[in-house]
């Protein structure tokens, strides 16, 4: 943290990789969008964009100060035009749907999936969420919103076993 700046971890629409940006510590939430554009070359349009703190459902006004919004050094912020992501998870021919805020981590969705499918202990740690129709397993750190693009505010996962590396 420099004297006048704080660092934030940003994810969101078009920000697929966790991205570290620096913003003035006494700035407002709108400054985050400006920093994302300047430091990442990603256009974060203000119209209809929702700003959230990770794993939190409350949207933050763009004109709120960072202090008012409770955003501090190395906090995790999410930017997206979708308000919610409709998630469905498939496991053994059963599909369970649930709505999550865009700033929800894959870790939290995985815990929900383990719970609704009754996976505990070794069964839980030996399964991962894989995007349907791909071999992509987003890291537990990833916000679900960063893997969807407005207006398609939905995603499907398969709950798949982690295979042993043998042979």
């Amino acid at each position: 943290m420099s004297e006048n700046k704080i660092e934030l971890f940003i994810q969101g629409e078009g920000v697929r990789e966790v991205t570290l940006v620096r913003v003035p510590h006494d700035g407002i939430v709108r400054d985050i969008l400006k920093s994302v554009s300047e430091q990442c070359g990603i256009e974060a349009r203000e119209e209809n964009i929702n700003v959230l703190i990770e794993d939190n459902d409350d949207e933050i006004p763009l004109d709120a100060t960072l202090k008012e919004a409770g955003i501090r050094h190395r906090h995790r912020v999410h930017l997206h035009r979708c308000r919610r992501v409709e998630v469905s998870v498939n496991f053994k021919s059963v599909t369970k749907p649930q709505s999550f805020s865009t700033g929800t981590t894959i870790a939290k969705i995985k815990r929900w999936a383990d719970d609704v499918f009754g996976l505990k202990g070794i069964d839980a740690t030996e399964h991962a969420l894989q995007i349907c129709g791909t071999n992509e397993r987003p890291d537990l750190d990833v916000h679900v919103g960063s893997i969807v693009q407005y207006p398609q505010c939905q995603i499907c996962f398969d709950l798949v076993p982690k295979k042993r590396v043998e042979g």
Binding site: F9, E17, T19, T125, E126, N135, D139, K162, V165, G167
Partner: protein, 160 residues
């Protein structure tokens, strides 16, 4: 940065970026040192009786990120390969990935490892999610180690 190879410059730049720093911030891993072409990085482990909270790994990073890294458990204090009793131990995926008897303990038995993938072409389809992607960064390897060290298969120190 003068005198550094392009690979080292890229590696150091990756360490400053969001994916690596996010893991540092969450306590998943941390940089111990860089002595090019090596780097020692510690990865946290789930709490187990009489086991350390983290393990260090020495990565060999020549031609990073075009070439996959190769890594071995490392005694960061003694700056030497970790003795077999100090390796992570357990069942299933753990005993396969962390095998001190394979290639003399010089690398981990994982598809993301440059040494291990040699002669294992079927892994590229069988374990495509774990194969090194030159467009990615070191966190793709660290995430796999971290996942293993937080699985129920991990039971603590391997022991002698």
């Amino acid at each position: 940065m003068d005198g550094m190879t392009p690979a080292e410059k890229v590696f150091r730049a990756h360490l400053e970026k969001g994916p690596f720093q996010s893991g540092v911030d969450r306590g998943r891993w941390k940089l111990v040192l860089i002595a090019w072409p090596h780097s020692i990085i510690s990865v946290s482990a789930a709490q187990r009786a009489d086991a350390p909270p983290e393990y260090s790994f020495r990565f060999e990073l020549s031609n990073y990120p075009a070439n996959a890294p190769t890594a071995q458990p490392w005694n960061a204090i003694g700056n030497a390969p970790l003795q077999r009793g100090g390796w992570p131990g357990g069942r299933g995926r753990i005993q396969l990935a962390f095998n001190p008897d394979w290639k003399g303990g010089s690398c981990l038995y994982l598809p993301c490892d440059r040494c291990a993938i040699e002669g294992h072409d079927p892994w590229r389809t069988q374990h495509s999610d774990m194969v090194w992607n030159p467009e990615g960064d070191i966190t793709q390897y660290l995430r796999i180690i971290h996942d293993l060290l937080h699985s129920e298969d991990y039971t603590g120190l391997r022991g002698s």
